[in-house]
């Protein structure tokens, strides 16, 4: 094989790979379905935590709340609730939501100084 042939083959190989990468990432990237809760984007996880906190304020079922947080992929649900609560406080979210989150944080013993104004 001549040097020219080798170069041509190499160029074709690289061009094919480049086209494959372009097609695989840009034109037709992997479409995920049947994902689990742990893969949700942070904003949706925060909202999920808020819903968990809302329900907890009504049923006081801490085991169920912990399970929901675990399903969300958090090994330490308390820390996740604290982080979400602080994000909501910084974002000036409605007081009712903040109090529900703090209520759950209290139960999980993860109250932070930023939550003080919202303690019952």
């Amino acid at each position: 094989m001549s040097r020219l042939s080798a170069i041509v083959l190499l160029v074709c190989l690289v061009a094919g790979a480049a086209f494959g990468l372009y097609y695989g990432y840009a034109v037709s990237p992997v479409q995920y379905t049947n994902t689990d809760l742990a893969s949700l984007r942070q904003a949706d996880k925060d909202d999920y935590i808020l819903m968990t906190a809302s329900i907890f304020t009504a049923d006081n079922d801490l085991a169920a709340a912990r399970e929901r947080l675990t399903n969300l992929g958090f090994k330490n649900g308390g820390a996740a609730v604290a982080e979400t609560t602080e994000r909501y406080i910084k974002a000036d979210q409605p007081q009712a939501d903040l109090r529900r989150l703090v209520f759950l944080a209290i139960a999980l013993k993860t109250v932070t100084p930023a939550m003080q104004p919202y303690l019952p």
Binding site: V8, G16, A17, A18, T35, S39, D44, S54, A58
Partner: protein, 265 residues
């Protein structure tokens, strides 16, 4: 010519390598997904959570926005079906009630489920006098300063009446229960208890939204004496509901359906 063939083969190999890397080895990030990509099981859990949160905060628009993130049509009928599954699988009354409430706010069919009734026959059953009306338990966060609105208007239910519906179009005799607010609006998610000698069952109103948000029914069997009450006040029971015959055409008879109405005071 030979070089051309090898070039094409090289191109294809490169393409395969590229796709293999992009789809298999290092695919697009499996994170930061939206609720729309969740599995059916997790979507159902998500809907339950939305329903539970709605029962607490009463924010219908927020609930609708949350459901919209699932990326599929969540009609009242669909949520009602989920509520029926929850009831059938023995999930908590709170969960079923929340789902029924969510189904009701998502809209449903007309309120009155029954076709025009024929004249009521003389009832052979008597109603147990109502002793004391116990208020329905409401969802109350005990440490929160504000009481979130509930989907079900407060107020204990009282027995409003019953009637025998003689309609040959019904495929089987039913006990239909209607739960209404003080203003006559249907109330969904009310748990109804049905008992008879040797058995009992329960259902919720609002799980057949196409028949009305305050509607629920139970199929009757021959020669069984049924008692119907609301779970919120079992002592206020309607007793002695049995299949009654209705006069049909040409001297024939058919089984009638009982309709029992409970209204909030």
């Amino acid at each position: 010519m030979k070089l051309a063939i090898w070039s094409v083969l090289s191109l294809l190999v490169g393409l395969g390598l590229g796709l293999g890397y992009a789809w298999g080895i290092n695919p697009a990030a499996y994170k930061d997904t939206s609720p729309a990509s969740l599995s059916a099981e997790h979507k159902a859990a998500y809907v339950r959570l939305v329903a539970g949160a709605l029962a607490v905060d009463g924010n219908v628009e927020r609930a609708k926005a949350r459901l919209a993130r699932l990326g599929e049509a969540n009609s009242g009928a669909r949520i009602a079906a989920l509520a029926q599954q929850a009831a059938a699988s023995g999930e908590s009354a709170q969960t079923v009630r929340a789902l029924a409430g969510l189904a009701s706010v998502l809209g449903a069919g007309p309120m009155t489920p029954t076709p025009a009734a024929s004249p009521t026959t003389t009832p052979t059953v008597t109603q147990t006098p109502t002793p004391t009306l116990t208020p329905r338990p409401s969802v109350t966060p005990y440490l929160l300063p504000t009481h979130p609105p509930t989907l079900t208007p407060p107020g204990a239910f009282g027995f409003s009446g019953k009637r025998l519906i003689c309609d040959p179009n019904f495929k089987q005799p039913l006990i239909q229960v209607l739960t209404l607010s003080a203003t006559g609006e249907p109330v969904a998610g009310v748990e109804v208890l049905v008992s008879w000698a040797g058995g009992s069952d329960h259902f919720f109103t609002g799980l057949k939204p196409e028949l009305g948000l305050g509607y629920g029914d139970f199929a009757m069997k021959p020669e069984v004496d049924y008692t119907v009450a609301l779970a919120s006040n079992p002592s206020m029971a309607v007793v002695g509901l049995t299949i009654e015959t209705c006069p049909g055409s040409e001297g024939q008879t058919f089984a009638g359906t009982w309709q029992v109405v409970f209204s909030q005071q």
